[in-house]
Symmetry: C2
Subunit: 150 residues, 2 copies
DNA sequence: ACTCCTCAAGACATTTGTGTCCGATTATAG
DNA sequence: CTATAATCGGACACAAATGTCTTGAGGAGT
């Protein structure tokens, strides 16, 4: 309804990485297994996040993916800007190229406040926050009934 | 960000038809031209809406598409249920198959009130309302800079 | 009856999103 | 230093959504 599958995988993976000890690379394979998503596909998503500067990757033995220094504070909004493209919030709900206060579609003024709520929410939540929530054990990241382990 | 292109076309077309005099069939070609969308593709979308009972279609001369009797009061929610599938609001924002109050993803309780706002909005707006808004001339249905004519 | 105009239906093409494979790169072991 | 095992990286393959085309069916006017 709102996010592409690619973005969903990306967010899930980022949260999972954020739950792991910082500085210790996490294997793509482990993430994929834990989240129950196709590992080769996930690898590509993570690669992209590396290019964009959110993650660091290390090849060879003891390799894997880490959140880059300081990126624990990254908001969902920032992360989604990387996976969905920078202006995924700009769009008109009816698909008009240009839909502003001056040239508005009939939904515009009703939709605007709701959209702002969505954006505010996404900007408010950070990977760190979500990781902590998961670590309490009250929330799940995958469909599997297994708990969250370090 | 929220709706598929198919749904966007469908909504646009429905609103446009609702602005036209009831009982007088509207040509697919005219709608496509007015909204600036591919006519063959739009035809399929309208065809589908006919099968689902929202529209009536008439072949031959003086043919075209009409809103079925009483369907001016249709809400966007109802229309979208036809194009996106009946449970397009049920989905978890992170893509989990099961995400309820009991088995929640870390976004669940933050996302829920926003989702409710979206649903309430979509249920509140009817084709009739939107058509009237367009008829005031203050709002546009397409990207073209042309006004709204009967 | 004939003709023109419309939608109906299916096959086909293109684009985008999703998923897979194999080679390049790196760290450790010997 | 070389071999080897483990990992990422980028090219490749598949699927679904989007968009196009052609042919046929049905209805209105002449």
């Amino acid at each position: 309804m709102v996010l592409s599958r690619t973005s969903q995988y990306a967010i899930q993976a980022l949260i999972y990485i954020a739950t792991q000890p910082a500085g210790e690379p996490v294997l793509n394979r482990d993430i994929a297994e834990r989240l129950n998503v196709p590992s080769a596909y996930l690898a590509k998503i993570l690669q992209n996040l590396c290019k964009q500067g959110l993650l660091d990757s290390f090849r060879g033995r003891l390799g894997g993916f880490c959140l880059r220094e300081g990126m624990h504070k990254t908001s969902l909004m920032q992360a989604l800007a990387l996976t969905e493209g920078p202006d995924f919030t700009k769009s008109c709900i009816l698909g008009l190229k240009e839909c502003s206060d001056e040239t508005a579609c009939p939904m515009h003024f009703k939709w605007l406040p709701v959209k702002k709520k969505i954006i505010a929410l996404l900007e408010d939540m950070t990977l760190e926050d979500l990781a902590k929530a998961v670590q309490t054990g009250k929330y799940r990241l995958s469909d599997l009934p297994s708990g969250v382990m370090a």
